[in-house]
């Protein structure tokens, strides 16, 4: 009996603690709603910008965050970077919800799925947060602005031009892509196919292989492609993981110098293969510039300088002036080609 009443008291204390926590809820809830009305309309001073890449620990996104951080700090704002350890859409949704509660000024996100994070982003926008997508877009109605690294046509053209130049405009080629459902890769590949058909009738695209952006898988797929197609003249890999793995395989095989490897890569990953002659030329935008431009775009939205409508223009520091195009998209520019002459000027 005595024991029971003591335990009863404990239970009571526990219940009290829970209701205390719940009351805590109510009060800070009203506080945060107060905040959101203050920063709801155009022209806020809440220059806290958070980058949400596809995943953390990815050198490409490290570079874009470096650019974003420098830009936001130059503007006197607060920069932050958060993100999931693995690139999944549901994990990104949790982070978007967190940022909505924290009432940041803007979220700059590279989407793991164009649809899955939409509702969470729109909830954030309803709370007065500006949303900029970069690198990989969401559906257009879920964000204020998309900062595109280069348009699909430009990226596809650069890669088609490079492979045509490197194999003498005729012969078999293959594409080594990332995962089969990577939105941007698939758009580029479709564009490359139609450009090849229209302008390079003597080039035959024999296969699109998928390396899942995994180094070992891409390496194995390269080996398989070269075995399946003995007359293969070139491999185009529109992903940084794929091109590096393909170059690594070719550099140590008898195909070195005979099979061209090109596509989209980073200078640091490709330097060795450009120097040893495996790779002549490859392309990419500068991810640091992409981060910088995204950060300036986010700041311009927060300050109310632009609304994200077509024709709006804003300054992006050293990068110059940019104008919002169709579909609320800002274009960084044409891809940049890296070769033996310029590769040592870059470090990312």
């Amino acid at each position: 009996m005595k024991l029971n009443s003591r335990l009863g008291a404990k239970l009571l204390a526990g219940t009290a603690a829970i209701s205390l926590a719940l009351t805590g809820c109510g009060s800070s809830e009203t506080a945060s709603t107060g905040d959101s009305t203050a920063s709801g309309d155009a022209g806020s001073a809440n220059l806290s910008v958070t980058f949400l890449p596809k995943n953390l620990g990815n050198p490409y996104f490290d570079a874009s965050s470096t650019g974003g951080k420098a830009a936001i700090e130059a503007l006197g704002g607060t920069f932050n970077e958060v993100g999931p350890a693995t690139a999944t859409a549901d994990a990104q949704v949790s982070y978007i919800n967190t940022l909505t509660q924290q009432q940041v000024g803007a979220i700059v996100v590279s989407a793991n799925d164009p649809a899955a994070i939409c509702d969470a982003l729109n909830e954030a926008r309803d709370a007065g947060i500006k949303v900029v997508t970069f690198d990989s877009d969401t559906n257009a109605e879920c964000r204020d602005l998309f900062v595109s690294q280069a348009d699909a046509a430009g990226i596809a053209k650069a890669q088609v031009d490079m492979i045509a130049e490197q194999i003498g405009d005729e012969g078999q080629i293959a594409i080594l892509s990332a995962s089969a459902n990577a939105t941007n890769q698939n758009a580029w590949i479709e564009d490359m196919k139609s450009q090849l058909e229209a302008d390079h009738p003597n080039i035959e695209l024999v296969e699109v292989a998928y390396g899942d952006d995994d180094d070992q898988t891409s390496f194995d797929k390269t080996a398989a492609l070269l075995q399946t197609y003995p007359d293969l003249k070139g491999i185009v890999s529109p992903t940084t993981v794929g091109i590096a793995a393909a170059a690594r395989y070719v550099s140590t095989s008898s195909f070195k110098g005979k099979v061209a490897v090109t596509g989209l890569g980073t200078p640091n990953q490709m330097r060795e293969y450009v120097k040893d002659g495996t790779v002549t030329e490859f392309a990419l935008w500068n991810p640091q510039d992409l981060g910088t431009l995204s950060a300036y775009a986010a700041a311009a939205l927060i300050k109310g300088d632009i609304s994200g409508a077509e024709g709006d223009s804003f300054e992006a520091g050293d990068l110059g002036s940019f104008t919002v195009g169709a579909d609320q998209t800002v274009l960084l520019g044409d891809p940049y080609r890296f070769n033996a002459d310029n590769i040592d000027d870059f470090d990312f």
Binding site: L56, V82, D90, N186
Partner: protein, 348 residues
């Protein structure tokens, strides 16, 4: 009590119910959950809010649903590693059905049937071919995921009717509680009855302690295990439908790695990895503990790697703590048994 008139039943040896409730692994986890909730409310800005509660419940809903069956399965000493892949597969089946123009409820039925059949396949291999659950479900984990990715390939199905996607995120009236929790509570009542109040449930615990002893005392071991795997596949499919509607995107790689989150929560909630012990209130507390902890850490701007480390350490610590506790309990039971055999009970 009545030693002279009637033989003692097992109930007479049990501890008082209040003491049983308070001195268990489950109550330790519930206490830890309360500590984390109160601590985070005090320390982490904007944790104590209705929005946190809503997001937390939406985030853990999938894990909660699946854990209702994972717990009984682990109590029998089995495991189901294929649940994450089944979420992906049912998501794809649901998406493909919707894409083919079938109404959403029909798609849900299709998904559930696929879940039940997948679970039946697991259960059949385990009970009739007599293969270990671990090996079978590692295999079907790859199999279900492979079919899922194969079926939908490069694409994701989106554009589900708004009334359904909204329902998946809707709240009950003005409360912060999502509608999905109604479904969870209904299934929870069923699961509690099945596990803790039915003959079937006593069989589950008996199997976990010793399959042979259970069989000799009249438990249909194979049938019990088979039913649990069918239930597991079905509830994973239900979770897959919810996942798809919540994120508005059906794709083959949905919920990758979810099985480990479910198992982690179930083990944290006091289910013995060797089978034979566990209770659903502990499991639910375990799910919410991991969810609340990562929610609080995200709001405190702790990076995802550190969040993973902290939850990992918590898990390992809880397993070690329970082993130590079990050892002490066994020692005490052995002493009690020794003294009991020295003073035999007068029966009859």
């Amino acid at each position: 009590m009545s030693e002279t008139t009637a033989p003692r039943t097992y109930k007479d040896f049990a501890q008082p119910i209040v003491r049983r409730l308070l001195l268990t692994r489950e109550s330790a986890i519930i206490a830890l959950l309360i500590v984390v909730l109160i601590g985070a409310s005090l320390i982490v800005p904007s944790f104590a809010s209705a929005a946190t509660a809503t997001y937390l419940m939406l985030d853990v809903a999938t894990i909660l649903l699946i854990s209702l069956v994972m717990a009984p399965i682990m109590i029998t000493g089995d495991i189901d590693l294929s649940v994450g892949s089944m979420v992906g597969l049912s998501s794809v089946v649901f998406g493909v059905a919707f894409q083919a123009g079938l109404p959403v409820p029909v798609g849900i039925v299709f998904a559930l049937v696929v879940g039940a059949v997948g679970g039946l396949f697991n259960g059949w291999l385990i009970t009739h071919i007599d293969l270990p659950a671990l090996a079978v479900t590692i295999g079907t984990m790859a199999l279900f995921r492979g079919i899922a990715v194969g079926l939908l390939g490069t694409t994701a199905v989106t554009g589900f009717p708004q009334e359904w996607t909204k329902l998946a995120r809707a709240k009950i009236g003005d409360s912060p509680i999502p509608v999905i929790m109604i479904l969870f509570v209904v299934l929870l009542i069923g699961a509690v009855w099945m596990l803790h109040f039915s003959k079937f449930g006593r069989g589950i615990f008996a199997i976990g302690l010793s399959k042979e002893a259970a069989a000799f005392s009249g438990v249909d071991v194979a049938r019990t295990r088979l039913i649990l795997f069918v239930l597991s596949g079905t509830i994973a499919a239900l979770a897959g439908v919810y996942f798809t509607l919540r994120y508005g995107s059906a794709r083959g790689d949905n919920a990758t790695g979810l099985e480990l989150q479910v198992i982690a929560a179930v083990v944290l909630g006091g289910v013995s990895v060797f089978g034979g012990r566990g209770a659903l209130h502990g499991v639910i507390a375990g799910v919410f503990l991991i969810g609340a902890l990562s929610s609080a850490l995200r709001l405190a701007n702790v990076t995802s790697d550190v969040i993973n480390i902290i939850t990992g350490v918590l898990l390992v610590a809880s397993v070690i703590a329970s082993s130590v506790l079990d050892w002490f309990k066994r020692q005490r039971a052995r002493r009690a048994l020794r003294s009991a055999t020295q003073q035999p009970v007068t029966a009859g």
